[in-house]
Subunit: 186 residues, 2 copies
């Protein structure tokens, strides 16, 4: 792990603890073990650090989602892996809500979040649709519809997990039933 | 329309125009044509007015969703009606984001929103699941799974409509394909 990465991970902890508004760069310095001049070498200011932290997290999420479908050549395992991975990864995004609830976001920061969310949506759509097209001739003609349903239900499961505190066991059962139904194995 | 309702509708316009933080009760008075003492007769303060406005909107949404399934006895029309109605109604919720982006929500207000969202989720789950159980013996055993898929895809469609600016025509095509696939008519 390089120095910048260490700072970003420390920042994530500090932002969650104090909220974006109350966090000072010096707090992140203390938590990461580097002094302020090191921080200013990598980041222009607090907003810049936050944005780079988000980009770092999003890359991790994309990588995990990609890996969840890698070398898998049957629909059932692929869709199940994808859904479980996505519910777990979205925990990261959920933390942002906590971090940001103490502050009014600046318009550039709001724009940044909108852009990142959109890029992630496009990335996920392509990843899943390509997986279905590659994986199953039988489902190829329904690839777009299945993609929409899987990504849709993943949003519902994320809400169930984060807000309604469903256990991972319960989520897994829902995933199994959903995938079975989608693949017409019921 | 009674006086309180008129004030709530005026409040919705004013909050959207100025944001929650900058809105004064006197602005809402001016917009609705009532003086401040009338407002204080119905509402304790600005937060109370906002909460009552949200409750009023949510009741309208629930009613519209209920009506979308009323007297319908085939799955295809029901699910299509529901999805189209939901995407249109969620526009109301989407406005809140605009209204609230200039302010830091107080913990009680945040708690209020969480509670309302949860109640709406439970309401929607029951409404759709009961419709499926009542409407189709063939699909009764899959009622929970279909409910999750329909509500999930409705979230995805709402995002497509609100953030990615899909036209209602395009949304309708997606709804048609989705319902067809779910009912195994493809």
């Amino acid at each position: 792990m390089d120095r910048k990465e260490k700072i970003l991970i420390a920042a994530s902890r500090v932002f969650r603890k104090y909220g974006l508004n109350k966090t000072k760069l010096s707090d992140i310095g203390r938590e990461s073990g580097y002094n302020s001049s090191s921080l200013y070498y990598y980041f222009k200011n607090k907003d810049d650090l936050l944005q780079q932290m988000v980009l770092y997290d999003i890359e991790k999420i994309k990588k995990a989602l990609k890996i969840s479908l890698q070398d898998i050549n049957n629909m059932k395992s692929g869709l199940k892996n994808y859904l479980m991975t996505r519910v777990e990864q979205m925990d990261i995004i959920n933390r942002y809500e906590e971090m940001l609830q103490d502050s009014v976001m600046s318009p550039p920061l709001r724009k940044f979040f909108r852009k990142i969310e959109k890029e992630l949506r496009i990335y996920e759509n392509r990843l899943l649709e390509n997986f279905i097209l590659k994986c199953s001739k039988k489902h190829a003609k329904d690839a777009t519809v299945i993609t929409n349903l899987v990504l849709g239900v993943s949003m519902k499961l994320t809400v169930a997990r984060m807000l309604d505190r469903y256990s991972l066991d319960r989520i897994e059962k829902m995933v199994d039933q959903t995938v079975k139904f989608l693949l017409r194995e019921s």
